[in-house]
Every structure is written in C-alpha cells, then in structure tokens.
C-alpha cells in the first residue's frame, strides 16, 4: 500500500483517531477492569485508579513510544540507513550502566535519600544515556563523519554494556531490578514522568519538522546536500541532540523498549511516501500508537498479572521486521 499525497492527511487523522481510541481502551483496562471507569464519578478509589494510575500510564506509554518513533525516524535519516535505531549512539547501554551504578550504590540501601529513590533511577538512566552520546561524539571527533559516528556509537554501546554486566555480576542483588529495566516497562509511569516526556516530545517534534528540509537534502548524499547550501554540521548537531534527548527521556522513564524506534518509521514508510519532516511526525504518532497497543496487551493478556511491555514490543517488532524481510526478499533490501 502506498497512499498518494492527498491521502497523507487521511492517514494522519486515522492514526490520531486510533490513538484516541487506544487511550480510551487504556484507561478502561487494568486489574479492576471497566468497573473503575464506571464508578469513577462517585467512587474516590475508582477515580484515583483512573486519574492517578491508568491515565498517566496510558498517556505516558504513548509519549514514550512517540519519543522512540521520532528518534528512530531521525536516526534513520541521520545515518541514511533504514536499519538504524535510536539506541545506535550508545544511549541504551549508557542508560543501562547508569541504572546499574545507581542500583549498585543505592539500590539495596533502605536509607537511600527519598529524593534519590524518586528520581534516582530515572536521573541515572538519563545521565547515562547522555554521557554515552557525549563519549560517542568525542570518539567520533564530532558529527562530521556519519560512519565514524556509527562506529563510535557501537563501541561505546559495547563497552558500557559490558561494564553494566560486570556490575551485575559483582552485585547479583541488582540483577533483578536491572532485568526489569532492560525489558522495559510502562507500569510505573505517573504524572511527573508523563509530563517530562510530553515536555521533551513537543519541542523535539517542532525541531524535527523545522529541519525536515535538511534531512531531505541529506537523503541525496552529503555532497549534494552541501551543494544545496544545507548547513550540514548544524543540522547533524541538532539531530544528534534530538535523538539523544528523545531517547534519553523515554529510556529513563520506561527502560529499554525494543523495536519501537526501528519499526515505527518502517511502518509509516510502508503506507505513505512522505518527506522527512512529515515522516518524523508520523513516526512519532506510529511509535506512540505501537507502545499504547503493547501497553494495553501487556496489561490484559495475562490479567491480573502483567507482562513487561518491552517483551511484547520485541516480539511484535521482531515479527514485523521478519515479515518485512520476507516481503522484500525479492527486492534484496529492506525498504
């Protein structure tokens, strides 16, 4: 399926409608089922469940997915590689190391300061992701050379991942918490986490749209983009910053959610042919929808127990990519 230009809006509106429906379903499902929704107006507990637990969690799942979808589209444009994902700059391993360190130092300590407990893991994950990207940039000596950036990201990822594993090996007590982070979860998103992600998402979306023209030009090759007067260096800095911020914000709140950043832009491309700016926005919408659906499934498949949402996105995303590979095998490449 490949819709023409006039139908892009229809696609975007359909996605929006699906997101609204998804949010509706999201606030309706949970261990107490629809009952909480029905009693929300006259039962304080039910209201608390809807307002304090389900709604921020549902909106947060959408925001985290949107951040990852956006970062995925930007990373694929920056690296000019459809298999690039937002974790390529090393942010995932950096965040894991941050969490491992935080857990090792304070995780098992019941006297850890309250503020730390609240923001500790989130902050450590974000700081770790940021540090990893800074290291990647230092190793790559800036943003000029995409291939160097890619290699540096892989190296930083491997080294930081190994360090996190080492910590887990030395402190087995942090292993279970770390595993939770590695699998990704939307279960603990409250209003503050949700708002942080929304605050990061909105400016990132605007900037991605503003720099869409430069990403389009870059899709024709670096020399061509330069010859067209595109400020490549500035553009790369902004894109790296956006990918880092978006990924860092999502990972810090939800852990490592697999495949959303990779699959969302692919799904959009398989339905519409759009310029980079629109691709970024639609990928955000698609990523949000994917994680929203995964979150609902995670809550309802084996209710009242929950599955880690990262497991679902990995299974769904992996299956999708497999299908994509199968579909395109005659063409010889992933589209």
């Amino acid at each position: 399926m490949n819709l023409n230009k006039s139908n892009h809006w229809l696609f975007a509106l359909t996605m929006l409608l699906l997101v609204v429906i998804g949010i509706g379903i999201g606030v309706s499902v949970g261990s107490s089922g629809l009952e909480s929704l029905q009693n929300a107006w006259h039962d304080d507990v039910a209201w608390q469940i809807i307002w304090q637990i389900r709604l921020p969690r549902t909106l947060g799942a959408f925001a985290a997915g949107a951040l990852l979808g956006l970062a995925g589209a930007l990373a694929q444009g920056l690296f000019r590689n459809p298999l690039a994902d937002p974790y390529l700059l090393g942010s995932a391993s950096g965040a894991t190391l941050g969490v491992a360190l935080a857990l090792a130092f304070y995780g098992g300590n019941q006297f850890a300061p309250d503020a730390f407990v609240r923001v500790g893991l989130t902050g450590a994950a974000f700081a770790g992701a940021l540090l990893a990207v800074v290291l990647t940039l230092l190793l790559a000596k800036g943003v000029q050379h995409t291939m160097r950036l890619l290699l540096a990201g892989v190296i930083v990822g491997v080294v930081m991942g190994a360090m996190a594993s080492l910590i887990a090996l030395m402190r087995p007590d942090v292993l279970q918490n770390m595993q939770g982070f590695l699998l990704g979860s939307t279960a603990f998103i409250g209003w503050p986490a949700c708002l942080v992600m929304v605050y990061v998402l909105l400016p990132c979306l605007c900037l991605a749209w503003f720099f869409g023209f430069a990403m389009d030009a870059l899709s024709l090759g670096e020399s061509t983009a330069l010859s067209l007067g595109v400020p490549l260096r500035a553009m790369r800095i902004v894109i790296v910053l956006l990918v880092t911020l978006a990924t860092g914000a999502a990972v810090a709140q939800t852990g490592l959610i697999a495949f959303v950043g990779l699959a969302a832009p692919h799904l959009v491309r398989s339905i519409v042919s759009v310029k980079s700016g629109s691709l970024a926005l639609l990928s955000a919408l698609m990523g949000g929808l994917l994680l929203l659906v995964a979150d609902i499934l995670a809550r309802s498949l084996i209710a009242p127990q929950e599955l880690p949402v990262g497991v679902l996105t990995a299974v769904l995303g992996g299956s999708y990519l497999l299908w994509l590979m199968y579909r395109n095998q005659n063409q010889g490449a992933l589209k």
Partner: protein, 261 residues
C-alpha cells in the same frame, strides 16, 4: 577578438584526503558558456578536483568563481551559482520524484517557505528536459538505476545555476539517454551556462568544447577537444590503449588491441 570570460579558475590547488595528498598544485581555467570535460585514468583525481571546484571539500590554494574567491562566497549564493551532480551517491528511496527534483530549488527558498510558482515551473521544466515527468508521483526507490539517474540530473538542472559540475553523469544511462544528456548539455551551454563533467566515456567526452586531461593528481594537458595535442595527451595517460580517430565529422576513441585474436 573578445576574450571569453572565465567561469572557474583554480590557482595552485592542493587537496589531501585522509592525510594523503591527492591533488598536487592544480592550475586551471574553465571558459564560461562552454562545456569542459575532465578525463583521465582511475585514481587521477578527477572527482576530487571537481569537488574542490564545487567547494565541497577543503583545499589549499585558491578557486575563483566568476572572479570571486569561492571560499568567501555565502553558502546560499554559492548554491545558486553552482549545481552539483555527484557520482554514485547513496540516496534514500523514500522521497517521490517531484520532491527530489524540488530539492534543487532549496537554494532559492526561505526556511519553511512553500515552493513558489517559479520553483514549480523550474521543476516541471527539468522533469521535461530529462523525460522524467511521468514518474513525478513515484518513489525514487521504485525506479531503475537509469531512471533514477535521470531524476537526479533533473534535480541538478532545476537549480538553474550558471555553472553545472557533473561527476560521471552518464552512469547507468542507456545510449539513447546518453545522447539526450549530450543534447541537454549543448542546450545549456547555448543558454550561456557553463558545464564541467568528469566522464569515463572518452568518446562522449570528446564532444565537449574543452578537455582537461589528468594523471596522478596533476593536469597534464588542457586544450580544445578538437586539438590533436589533446588527443595525444589522452592516448598517453591511458598508456596508448586507446587511439583517437576521426570518423566522419566526429572524433572517436577506439581500443588499441595488444594482440589480434
């Protein structure tokens, strides 16, 4: 006789790539309103020279575009004056043909501005010129290599720059479309545009007005394509494995077989 103005001039240009010097003091003059072909064996530095002339890589020495130092020109002005068509650049398959060609109008568009009527007209004309207009709604990834090359050529034409630099523009084009390209270049120079191309097809390169012959990072000859000295220089840099001969009113390159079978 009036002197033809110079579109591009290089003075003592050196370029190093990955710490290795690949251009060793290039001096060059390109006549405005003419087509100049750069030829030479693989690794002679042709593409590097073209990139340096376009200001796409760092160089030592001086390059002048219509007597103005290239290094000091504003990016926007330079992008309006020089149109670039690169060799084998990896392109994303997602954009449709119209959007790709419209990118050629970026140098004239303000940030976030919608394309003007003039932009649309330029894109339309470029698509017509390369017979690519029927694919305007198709994704570039759905086109064959030759069709894609014609779209990229249209993108370069859409810039409507006074100087076009093309690196291996005939890549993947079949003979009829190579002839179309030749006609297009003739049309552009007739309009006063300057075209500089790096070509491997010596036979096609001989149709240009001027010839620059390179070897091992140096220019070994510069002259008119009809000049016999140019022909001898080309034969020499290719180790006399080709011979340039007159056929009817054209010059053609024929292989010099070392042994008969």
């Amino acid at each position: 006789m009036t002197k033809t103005p110079t579109a591009l001039q290089a003075l003592n240009v050196y370029v190093s790539l990955n710490g290795q010097e690949v251009l060793h003091g290039i001096d060059l003059k390109i006549r405005a309103g003419h087509w100049t072909s750069i030829v030479g064996p693989n690794g002679a530095g042709k593409s590097t020279l073209l990139k340096a002339l376009a200001g796409l890589l760092e160089y030592q020495g001086e390059v002048f575009l219509f007597d103005q130092p290239l290094a000091y020109l504003k990016a926007k002005y330079r992008s309006q004056q020089i149109s670039w068509l690169g060799q084998n650049e990896v392109t994303s398959d997602d954009l449709n043909v119209w959007d790709v060609v419209m990118l050629g109008r970026l140098p004239y568009q303000d940030w976030m501005a919608v394309p003007s009527a003039q932009d649309k007209q330029a894109v339309e004309a470029a698509l017509q010129a390369t017979q690519a207009s029927e694919w305007r709604q198709r994704r570039i990834g759905q086109l064959s290599a030759g069709e894609k090359q014609r779209v990229l050529l249209a993108r370069a034409i859409a810039v409507q720059a006074s100087l076009m630099l093309m690196d291996e523009p005939l890549t993947n084009l079949d003979p009829p479309h190579q002839v179309d390209w030749l006609e297009q270049v003739r049309y552009l120079t007739a309009q006063g545009k300057t075209v500089v191309s790096v070509l491997h097809e010596v036979g096609m390169a001989l149709h240009a007005d001027d010839m620059v012959v390179m070897q091992a990072g140096r220019i070994v000859h510069q002259g008119a394509c009809t000049d016999l000295a140019s022909h001898r220089a080309i034969e020499a840099v290719f180790d006399n494995r080709i011979a340039i001969q007159a056929v009817k009113s054209d010059w053609v390159a024929v292989p010099n077989l070392l042994r008969s079978i």
